[in-house]
């Protein structure tokens, strides 16, 4: 039989469908929006392409002077820096609790904790709007029981972002929890047995066996969480529309408004690339830190 393909080219043929899909649906659009970022493509130009101007780096220069962009950048970092570690800590805590030999009804808890992840955010947002309601909300009811003044969670400029963070952490920790549980279950039992023989207490076991063995899982979880949280959009879009006083305006929400509400595609594309660059840098920094550690 004549061999039509060498080993390498055969592999390439098998990969071709996937590669071409990535090329058509990823690389071309990304390249196109990179180009759009250097034009002023807007509602006039969408109607008549002769009205597009090439503006060079003007979109990026305008971004640097745009107070709303800086506000959105600040809000996004605020969200990521507070919510990501919190979310990872909560998922790890839940995973440890559910992996413990003492825990009962494990499947029920696992299901309950995972439920928010698979529930659509719109439904969740409606419920949380009630929870956060300044007059009838359950959180303010409990605050009242211990004698604290009610807080207008979503209406107060200082409390809106913490409220969004709380909701986002609650919605997302179940996903990371499942990954952590898988990580915990892959730690061989004999390591703990050895630790016990050496006389290690619970905390020492956690610090010296569990955490190091979980390091690859933690790296994966933190990168995925960071990337996901930098793209904060649906929570403020549904709950606050970026308000009050733009305190919950995230980069992606700003990008969406500029691009798809006001049709400033060029400006919007520039925002997208700034976000891409931030996430890219964040991922590399995390990988570097992990390799050192």
């Amino acid at each position: 039989m004549v061999r039509l393909f060498t080993r390498d080219s055969a592999a390439f043929v098998f990969l071709a469908p996937a590669l071409s899909a990535i090329f058509v649906f990823f690389f071309i659009p990304v390249f196109a929006s990179f180009l759009i970022g250097f034009t002023d493509l807007d509602i006039y130009a969408l109607g008549d392409l002769s009205k597009v101007r090439f503006v060079g780096i003007e979109n990026y220069a305008r971004l640097l002077k745009d107070p709303l962009f800086w506000q959105a950048l600040f809000n996004t970092f605020y969200f990521v820096i507070v919510a990501a570690p919190l979310s990872i800590a909560v998922s790890l805590g839940a995973a440890l609790a559910l992996n413990s030999k003492l825990a009962m009804f494990k499947p029920i808890f696992r299901l309950t904790f995972f439920m928010p992840v698979v529930t659509t955010l719109v439904a969740i947002a409606i419920v949380w709007r009630f929870i956060y309601h300044p007059n009838f909300g359950v959180i303010n009811y409990f605050l009242g029981l211990i004698g604290l003044h009610p807080i207008d969670w979503l209406g107060d400029p200082n409390w809106a972002m913490p409220a969004i963070i709380l909701m986002a952490v609650w919605k997302n920790f179940g996903y990371n929890m499942i990954i952590f549980i898988a990580g915990l279950q892959s730690i061989p039992e004999y390591l703990y047995e050895a630790a016990v023989i050496e006389g290690a207490n619970g905390w020492q076991q956690f610090k010296s066996v569990t955490l190091p063995m979980l390091a690859p899982t933690t790296l994966f979880v933190s990168i995925i969480t960071m990337i996901g949280f930098f793209q904060l959009f649906a929570e403020p879009y549904i709950m606050t529309q970026g308000g009050p006083l733009n305190k919950t305006l995230s980069i992606v929400l700003y990008m969406y408004n500029e691009g798809f509400r006001w049709w400033n595609m060029g400006y919007s594309a520039a925002i997208a690339f700034v976000l891409f660059f931030i996430i890219f840098t964040g991922t590399i920094v995390q990988l570097k830190l992990q390799n050192k550690g």
């Binding site: 002023d40 807007d42 509602i43 006039y44 009205k51 101007r53 709007r129 956060y132 309601h133 300044p134 007059n135 207008d152 969670w153 979503l154 209406g155 107060d156 400029p157 529309q241 308000g243 009050p244 006083l245 733009n246 408004n257 509400r261 006001w262």
Partner: protein, 260 residues
């Protein structure tokens, strides 16, 4: 009048006027009433710092500062319920809201509310409002112009206009439709009929939506919450609007050069 209403309530949290900080329309309406030109130089520059608009803007912002209108959005989750419970006493809205208000103002409350034309700065009512609504347009490149025109004609008949009104309280644009008993008998529609003779139109440019929804609203909120003074807010508003209109200035310039 708002202060009078406030005194009548005396206790409990309530507001004479509901002026949502995410609605630009009242500010633009009152601005038109004081005779301000919203955009100047053929709609290429913002004109919100003009004394006329400033007067209207400051007048409405004062409602927030005096506690006559709520500054939060979360305080009123259901405007109809808030109205029927006396949490708010006045609300600026359109005819589309009348059926829903009727639903909530039941029993003893049924004859306790009414619609009214907008007040005007000189005390003579009615003051100007914006017509809102939308236009029927035929595309220049349409292949079915005849059919489109027929459809527009059909929508403009008295009977279709009344059907639309019955379905969703869209006020008829055809004057003859107003002679129908359905409208004459509805006391809540009378104010809207009178208001119709006192309307001004908004700048007809594609950028208007962004100016109104994103910029006017943003600076209304900043001023209402006391983050900026009225002067600061309007100056920034003009700056932002001028940036938005940069493309329009360029396009108009191209046109002029093209003709030379």
């Amino acid at each position: 009048m708002s202060r009078k209403i406030r005194r009548q309530y005396a206790q409990g949290e309530c507001y004479p006027l509901y002026l949502p900080i995410n609605e630009w329309a009242p500010f633009i309406i009152f601005g038109l009433q004081t005779g301000s030109e919203l955009l100047k130089d053929n709609n290429t520059y913002g004109n919100f710092s003009s004394p006329a608009f400033k007067k209207a803007f400051a007048f409405l912002i004062d409602f927030y500062h005096q506690g006559l209108a709520p500054t939060g959005l979360t305080q009123v989750t259901n405007i109809y319920k808030a109205f029927s419970q006396g949490y708010i006493a006045m609300y600026i809205s359109g005819p589309w809201n009348v059926p829903e208000f009727k639903k909530w103002m039941k029993g003893d409350l049924a004859d306790q509310w009414m619609t009214a034309v907008l007040p005007s700065p000189d005390g003579e009512t009615p003051g100007y409002s914006i017509a809102g609504g939308s236009s029927l347009v035929m595309n220049r490149y349409s292949k079915h112009k005849k059919e489109a025109w027929k459809f527009i004609e059909y929508l403009s008949t008295v009977s279709s206009q009344l059907t639309l009104f019955k379905l969703q309280s869209d006020l008829p644009a055809v004057k003859d439709a107003w002679n129908d008993t359905l409208l004459l008998k509805d006391p809540y529609m009378k104010a809207f009929y009178n208001q119709f003779r006192y309307v001004k139109s908004l700048p007809k440019i594609p950028e208007w939506e962004q100016i109104a929804f994103s910029k006017v609203q943003q600076y209304v909120e900043y001023a209402a919450r006391g983050k900026m003074t009225v002067d600061e807010a309007l100056k920034k508003l003009d700056e932002d609007v001028n940036k938005i209109l940069e493309k329009r200035r360029w396009l108009l310039k191209q046109k002029v050069h093209g003709k030379d």
